[in-house]
């Protein structure tokens, strides 16, 4: 197996890793939403008009749905862009002086990397078009 063949698996590994991360947090927020309410920032409650519990549930649904789409390889680029922006806001809210904030920002930019790559050759839909995939 040459290195070129190995590199074709890179976006797949990145995609599945992010699936695991978002599925874990999304499902945890749906299973135990009360546990997460204390990390909802005040501005999110005042801006949205929802209570913290509802925000956590909506966040959980979004992350679970997005991770299923990523797992299947459906609209990878669009889903990744949404997740990137989503996590960028959350990581930015924690701030760059907070270890969790730095970690979230790192994950968000890993998601951006997936968005920039787009469809890999194992994605279901739409068909991959970029040059790196066709090798």
């Amino acid at each position: 197996m040459n290195s070129q063949k190995l590199s074709s698996y890179a976006p797949l590994v990145l995609r599945f890793t992010l699936v695991a991360v978002y599925a874990w947090f999304g499902s945890s927020q749906l299973m135990n939403p009360e546990m997460w309410t204390r990390v909802v920032p005040d501005w999110a409650i005042t801006t949205s008009g929802f209570d913290a519990l509802m925000i956590i549930k909506m966040n959980g649904v979004f992350e679970v749905v997005a991770s299923i789409l990523l797992a299947l390889g459906i609209a990878v680029r669009y889903v990744s862009v949404l997740l990137f922006l989503h996590l960028l806001v959350i990581g930015g809210n924690f701030g760059v002086t907070n270890p969790t904030g730095i970690r979230d920002l790192g994950l968000s930019f890993a998601t951006l990397a997936l968005a920039l790559f787009g469809q890999d050759k194992w994605s279901l839909y739409p068909k991959a078009t970029n040059d790196a995939v066709s090798q």
């Binding site: 991360v21 947090f25 299973m31 966040n59 797992a71 994950l107």
Partner: protein, 145 residues
Amino acid sequence: MRGKSCSAVREIPSQTSSLSAAMALTTIHGSSIGQDQLQDRSRGNLLTDPNSPSSHTDRVAFLLLQVTNGIINIMKQNKIMFAILGLVVFGLAVWAASMREPMGAGPGGAGPMGNSSSTQSMASSSVQTSSTNGGISITIETPAR
């Protein structure tokens, strides 16, 4: 045209491997079915003689052949296989999340809505209260907030 020729080429190893699997089974059972006979039987004569001494082996071999062919056909659909793999990853992550104790560590750690590590360690510490009542020991674990 190119696609057709490729698929035709791909079918040869799959049939060979199916046949090999079936042959291995018949060998284990001590059957005297040769490769030519098995090929003939796989064309439709496999289950025609239920009174044959090797009919049970034939049935198992035929079933194995069908299952092997089915698996190989699914493997050819790589995208489907990897979509299933993605769903397996998703399922494992959900299972791992469900394994987490609802009370205790709190939403510490990495992730979209994660808490700071200092909060996590604070929330992890708990107060244990033990009492003995009529020989029954009761331990109450209260997570510190």
